[in-house]
């Protein structure tokens, strides 16, 4: 008998007599488990969950230390580039601009102030002119970032103005408008400060 023939004639073995019962029991148990899976109870979280989430959403996001360190390093580079730029020969003309920020009190009963004051317009014109003349300074990351913030705030301000036209003096809208105005003033002030260094 050769090897191949021997393999073909290997004897069959009998499994234990209760094997089918075991398989059947497992299958029925699995079916019962699968049915019960659709009926699992829904569990309730702690009562104060929302208050804790809302409290955390109020807090500003704290960036990791390495991100802040990177920002400081980037700021240091910007300062060095700025010093180098200042030391370059430039015109004798001395530009001065005064800019004042007033934080508007949140009085929801009063009408909103005129949206863009003359000082804001002057400051924005100044920023535009300076960026046309001082292209190096305006390429600084912090100036770019501030200009982007100013752009976003202006868009948000326009959106709120539209909503005020539709919904009237909704207290939440008035409050949002005042907040945006104050943020715009801060950003503009910072831009003017950097551009006049």
């Amino acid at each position: 008998m050769n090897w191949k023939k021997a393999l073909q004639n290997l004897p069959e073995h009998e499994p234990r007599p209760d094997l089918w019962d075991r398989i059947d029991a497992d299958l029925r148990a699995d079916a019962a488990i699968d049915r019960a899976l659709d009926d699992l109870p829904v569990l309730e979280p702690a009562a104060g969950s929302w208050e804790q989430i809302a409290g955390r959403l109020e807090k500003p996001v704290v960036r990791p230390l390495w991100v802040r360190s990177f920002r400081w390093a980037a700021a240091a580079v910007v300062v060095l580039v700025g010093v180098w730029a200042v030391l370059q020969p430039a015109s004798d003309e001395k530009v001065t601009i005064s800019y004042k920020t007033e934080v508007v009190e949140t009085d929801l009963t009063s009408m909103p102030e005129p949206l863009q004051s003359l000082a804001d317009q002057k400051a924005e014109t100044f920023i535009k002119e300076q960026c046309e003349q001082q292209t190096v300074v305006c390429q600084k990351p912090e100036v770019k970032e501030l200009k982007q913030q100013l752009h976003e705030l202006s868009s948000r301000q326009e959106a709120v103005e539209q909503e005020l036209l539709v919904f009237g003096n909704d207290p939440a809208l008035v409050q949002a408008q005042i907040k945006i105005e104050n943020e715009r003033a801060e950003v503009t002030k910072e831009l003017v400060r950097i551009l006049t260094i």
Binding site: A29, A31, I33, A36, L37, P41, P45, S49, W50, I53
Partner: protein
Amino acid sequence: MTFTPDTTETELVDYCLRRDRPVEQRMAQRLLFERYKRAMFSVAMRILNDYDHANDALQDAFVEVFRHLDRFRFQSTLGVWIKTIVVRQALRKRQLEWRFETIDETVHDQPIEVPDTITGAVLDAAIRSLPDGARAVFVLAEVEGYKHHEIAAMLNISEGTSKSQVSYARKLLRKKLADLL
């Protein structure tokens, strides 16, 4: 904007992103939380089997949901997207503690009879009594419907381990259910 139970998810998501309307934004966030809190807490609780940890995971998850909702692109349902974050937060709670038991092949030497009438509550109790690793994999695969390759990535295990842990969990469940009833 008046929110009602019929307010659609798309509308709620839109308002959750409206930073310029803080009152409506917070109201929409609250409504979204109320809609999903039980389903998501149940997921966290079944994975962690610890009430305080599950509440922490739920809180961390919803803070993450609201901070990053602008990244949701409606490519899946909102519920699936939130669940992914809840699962990740729940798993992170025990990142270093997941242990996968060596499978005991001698579990249930005798045929086990599990009644056809087991309820969800009874099964829930049995699931909670499973070892941590087997429970987490079983819940993710059999209750939440994740695929083995997804579970393997989440728990940093092989697909084979995921499959064998589900099989082990089922074996243990059969025995536990038979003992419970």
